[in-house]
Symmetry: C2
Subunit: 229 residues, 2 copies
């Protein structure tokens, strides 16, 4: 699966969130980190889009939408001829959003400071996916990055990598499978016997947990079925 990350942050170098994200994709072949600048070559941009299976718009929320830098890209690159009309060049691809905001998660609801949910605020992107026949993914939203603990930052780092590379990132079993695959890759690559053994032990514990969870899920399903009958 090929992922194109369109970074619409006007000041990537100054953003700690973006720097964390950038570190997460540095080592991957299947991810293209594409940082936008003022100048655009429409043909090149469209060619990048055509190569991708998953397209991710990554930006800080400025007045409840993307910065002008990314909006300019949308207005210029996503021409009617290319994205709708007879071509529908993006049809079947996935559209993901990685968004950062300085407001707290709890403010995005009725009666709270921001009044609307993040799903409501991001409707224009969902409508874009709908219009171009793309599959809209659940957005990955980072609230108040500076307040995250070290552990929360590490979890975010993993979630971000999964958001870019895991074909089924919002299924629980998908998550375990993704981590298992990553571990097996690491075990294969590890030359130190002792470290390899540690990784194998972790992998084994994880596998036990997954098996147990699958059992529990099946039991829960059976109980539910009994209740329905």
């Amino acid at each position: 699966m090929k992922t194109l990350v369109i970074v619409g942050h006007p000041k990537v170098a100054e953003s700690t969130t973006q720097q964390l994200f950038k570190a997460g994709v540095a080592s991957s072949d299947d991810i293209t980190w594409h940082q936008l600048t003022e100048t655009l070559d429409v043909n090149l941009e469209q060619a990048l889009l055509l190569q991708a299976d998953r397209v991710v718009f990554q930006f800080p929320l400025y007045w409840y939408s993307a910065p002008a830098l990314l909006k300019h890209w949308q207005d210029t690159v996503l021409t009617t001829k290319f994205s709708v009309g007879t071509a529908y060049s993006l049809a079947g691809k996935e559209l993901g959003l990685v968004i950062s905001t300085g407001a707290a998660k709890k403010e995005f609801q009725s009666g709270a400071d921001e009044q609307f949910t993040m799903s409501e605020i991001l409707r224009p992107y969902e409508a874009l996916a709908n219009k171009t026949k793309m599959k809209y993914l659940t957005p990955l939203v980072v609230y108040q990055f500076p307040y995250l603990t070290k552990l929360q930052q590490e979890r975010l780092f993993i979630n971000y990598q999964r958001y870019l590379t895991d074909p089924k990132f919002n299924h629980f079993v998908g998550q375990e499978k993704w981590i298992t695959q990553r571990l097996l890759q690491k075990i294969d690559a590890e030359e130190n016997a002792e470290k390899r053994e540690t990784l194998q032990q972790i992998q084994s514990v994880l596998q036990d947990n997954v098996d147990e969870l699958i059992d529990l899920t099946m039991t829960a399903d059976m109980i539910r079925q009994d209740e329905d009958e």
Copy 2:
């Protein structure tokens, strides 16, 4: 009431909708028609905002939001210091939207082509008004301008003028009052006796209609009260 119209259309000269709108404000002192360009003087823009009672963002819908030209203005002019923080310089002012779209009105609902209502799509602007303590006005949306009949265009022209100048543009009695005032102004200014008489006749018929409607509204209210008791 002072109204500032911030025109975020990148090609005003080529747009028949914008040209119709522009004709509607040409003769007014209380309206500032402010056409955005690439270069911005933040202090000047903020000074314009401070003078206005009603601020109107006027733009064609590009990918379900304002063109990058207006988004750049939002990102640059509406600084935290100016619009929120301790200043809240826009608090109490009204925020209106005049939007044109090539899609039909009926497509903006669940199950139709555009999937979402216009209210949902425009949430980011409602959230902006909420955040800055502005009063969000019902947007004036022009669907498929090229398909409008001459009569529909004339109605739109009147509605647009009311949207910019009528303090109570979405109340029915407000509408009649606004038209009556306009007529009285025209009668005063008219030097041709015959034409003045025609205008007075129109004004008289209109006044009769308004009186009748106020009677009907009161009767309906009384019936409703009886039902409640």
